[in-house]
């Protein structure tokens, strides 16, 4: 199997879905001739033409709103928001419109749009090129939020997102774009939205996380293995709605749970995971549920030492897991 990067997986999924269905098209800023600021759409403009890879005016609400209209008509738009930080002007279109179209029309209309956006820090992006915005949307029924960690998951989940009959926010960790590589089959496959994935089996402590932090958790698990601590790693993959069964199973397995996110702590995705564990797993717990997250400051500063202090890394996860193992 060929080894491909996380961003190559994005590009392959887009390419395959555009080839598979002529209703699929891309719209966003710089997605056409430039191929996207991260090159996620590189080559697609040449292959599918300017009609299906549309360079839009610089206006995010317009990008999403136009996509929503096309989706209601029966197209399969993929709207790219250049950075997740810049999705804010489109929030009304996402929350008031896309999320509620099926519900408010009593199933008469629906809105199969995919909204892709790179998120996350560790790239010297400063306050407005580093944010994790998923929690802002994770209290909005009608939306699905997918945040894959590996090239294999990216490809299978992005294809599912494009084929989904409801709006999907697809957040890609920009630090993972060229950092994370793995073997991905050439044959067609999809991965169901809404299913978490065990990335490592373990017996002593459980990490539940998503996105780039999955890799930090796996690195920490390797190190702790040498100390005789066995770590179970669950990758949420879809952060809204959550895969409750998988969370309950992973939490109950070890009874010691560390929840990790790069986002701000209070009101985060992992806070909801914690609530699920509290509701369903009380008698299986052997230690208080722990959360390791970004600090509750507005966003990640630009200067390298400050950014590093904000970011999750494998050392922080390793220490938190060790503490939990010896609790």
């Amino acid at each position: 199997m060929p080894v491909i990067s996380y961003i190559e997986a994005v590009k392959q999924a887009l390419d395959e879905e555009m080839a598979h269905n002529d209703k699929v098209f891309i719209l966003g800023e710089d997605v056409g001739m430039k191929g996207g600021v991260f090159k996620a759409t590189e080559g697609l403009y040449e292959k599918y033409g300017k009609e299906r890879v549309i360079d839009t005016p610089l206006a995010e609400s317009g990008i999403v709103g136009v996509g929503i209209g096309a989706a209601m008509y029966g197209m399969r738009p993929i709207a790219e928001i250049q950075f997740a930080d810049f999705i804010m002007p489109a929030v009304n279109q996402i929350v008031s419109e896309a999320a509620k179209i099926r519900y408010r029309s009593n199933n008469d209309w629906h809105c199969p749009i995919t909204i892709r956006a790179p998120y996350g820090g560790g790239v010297n992006g400063g306050l407005y090129h580093s944010q994790s915005v998923e929690a802002l949307f994770a209290n909005v029924p009608g939306l699905k939020i997918v945040m894959p960690s590996t090239p294999y998951d990216v490809k299978g989940l992005l294809k599912s997102a494009i084929r989904d009959d409801d709006p999907v926010l697809f957040f890609e960790h920009k630090r993972a774009y060229r950092l994370i590589k793995e073997e991905v089959p050439e044959q067609e496959y999809t991965i169901p939205i809404g299913k978490a994935d065990v990335k490592r089996e373990g017996e002593d402590v459980t990490v539940i996380t998503y996105g780039l932090a999955v890799h930090f958790a796996l690195q920490a698990a390797d190190k702790l293995q040498e100390e005789g601590i066995s770590v179970h790693v669950l990758d949420l993959r879809t952060v809204y709605p959550l895969d409750k069964e998988a969370i309950i199973e992973a939490a109950s397995k070890t009874g010691k749970i560390l929840l990790v996110t790069e986002a701000n702590k209070e009101g985060s995705i992992i806070s909801e995971v914690s609530a699920i564990i509290a509701e369903y797993c009380l008698f299986d717990l052997d230690a208080p549920v722990q959360r390791l997250a970004g600090p509750d400051v507005p966003a990640m500063p630009y200067a390298a030492p400050l950014e590093k202090h904000f970011m999750i890394n494998s050392d922080k996860i390793e220490q938190a897991l060790r503490d939990l193992a010896y609790f």
Partner: protein, 330 residues
């Protein structure tokens, strides 16, 4: 005899009478809603009164079997013209399960009916403008010949979605018609406090499209303007912004008291500017409408509304448990 203006527009006497009947139906339906509201039978009304002539004039210039419309909350005249029935509108007013717009989930005035290409709308204003542009983009991509029509109030012309939508449509020369029903007030705030320019249509030049301002009490003038916009759209020349000057006869909604921000004399004057009455006068002067026919139409409408109200009042609400349905595809 008044000068015949409709033949040159390609409108037959029968079409004019159909237009007139829909305007009247919209008005009488709306008047009934206020009675039902004040009687405590329905919780809310947001009115079309004063704007029906413009709405129906515009709708009749469209292809009512193929074009897409994204109406705003006052567009009873548009949705009636596009095939929604007064019974369906009454079911919406009573929020009953059979309401085709939303099954009683949304407030009145939030229209949507896929089979008639009336696109579902919400309450945050102007979000429908980029949707219309997206549907027009789909038409262009799919090489379909239909036109998309989207309407909104003058207050909406201040929203970002208005500007983002018009600009996108202008850049891509999309077959969409932007129809602003300027009734002089965004709830309580008059146009002078809403716009720094003189007219909403002045904004069109910034987006590379023609902008026109039309007397909304003259449905034939509105018809002509929309017809021209349709021609432009179909020739691939792109979008048009049409502003119609109308009046809002009622408070903003059944929860508003407009005496707080406009004088009673102003309200009295506004009510004299009635496009339906002007249209009836024209029809009578051209010999198309007689007093007798007018009475027959009124009777027919009253019967329709009575039957619709009876039906809707007695129709069941959706099951409470049904609130869990249709969050996602099922």
């Amino acid at each position: 005899m008044a000068e015949n203006r409709h033949e040159a527009l390609g409108l037959t006497n029968e079409q004019l009478l159909e237009m007139y009947e829909i305007m009247r139906l919209a008005r009488r339906f709306d008047e009934r809603l206020w009675i039902l509201n004040r009687a405590g039978k329905i919780p809310f009304v947001v009115s079309c009164q004063g704007q029906e002539a413009a709405q129906v004039g515009a709708a009749f210039a469209l292809d009512r079997k193929n074009d897409y419309v994204l109406p705003y909350y006052r567009d009873v005249g548009v949705v009636l013209s596009f095939g929604m029935t007064v019974k369906e509108l009454m079911l919406q007013a009573f929020a009953k399960g059979e309401d085709p717009n939303s099954g009683g989930r949304q407030m009145p005035g939030h229209f949507g009916q896929k089979k008639n290409r009336i696109v579902t709308g919400s309450s945050p204003v102007t979000t429908q403008v980029p949707h219309a542009v997206g549907i027009a983009l789909a038409a262009k991509m799919e090489k379909k010949s239909f036109v998309t029509f989207v309407s909104f109030g003058e207050g909406s012309s201040n929203q970002g979605d208005f500007h983002e939508g018009l600009n996108f449509a202008g850049v891509h020369k999309l077959p969409v018609i932007f129809f602003c029903e300027n009734n002089g007030y965004a709830i309580s705030v008059p146009t002078s406090m809403q716009l720094a320019c003189e007219k909403v249509s002045d904004r069109a030049i910034g987006y590379g499209m023609p902008g026109v301002t039309i007397d909304g009490n003259d449905p034939l003038a509105v018809f002509a303007a929309v017809k021209e916009a349709v021609r432009r759209a179909k020739r691939g020349e792109g979008p048009t912004l049409i502003e119609v000057i109308t009046q809002r006869f009622t408070p903003h909604s059944s929860d508003d008291d407009d005496r707080l921000y406009r004088s009673e004399s102003e309200i009295r004057e506004i009510r004299k500017q009635d496009g339906i009455q002007f249209f009836a006068d024209y029809l009578k002067q051209t010999g198309i409408l007689t007093d007798e026919l007018e009475q027959q139409i009124e009777k027919k409408i009253a019967k329709k509304i009575d039957e619709a109200a009876d039906y809707a009042e007695n129709a069941p609400f959706a099951e409470p448990e049904s609130i869990h349905k249709y969050v996602y595809s099922e």
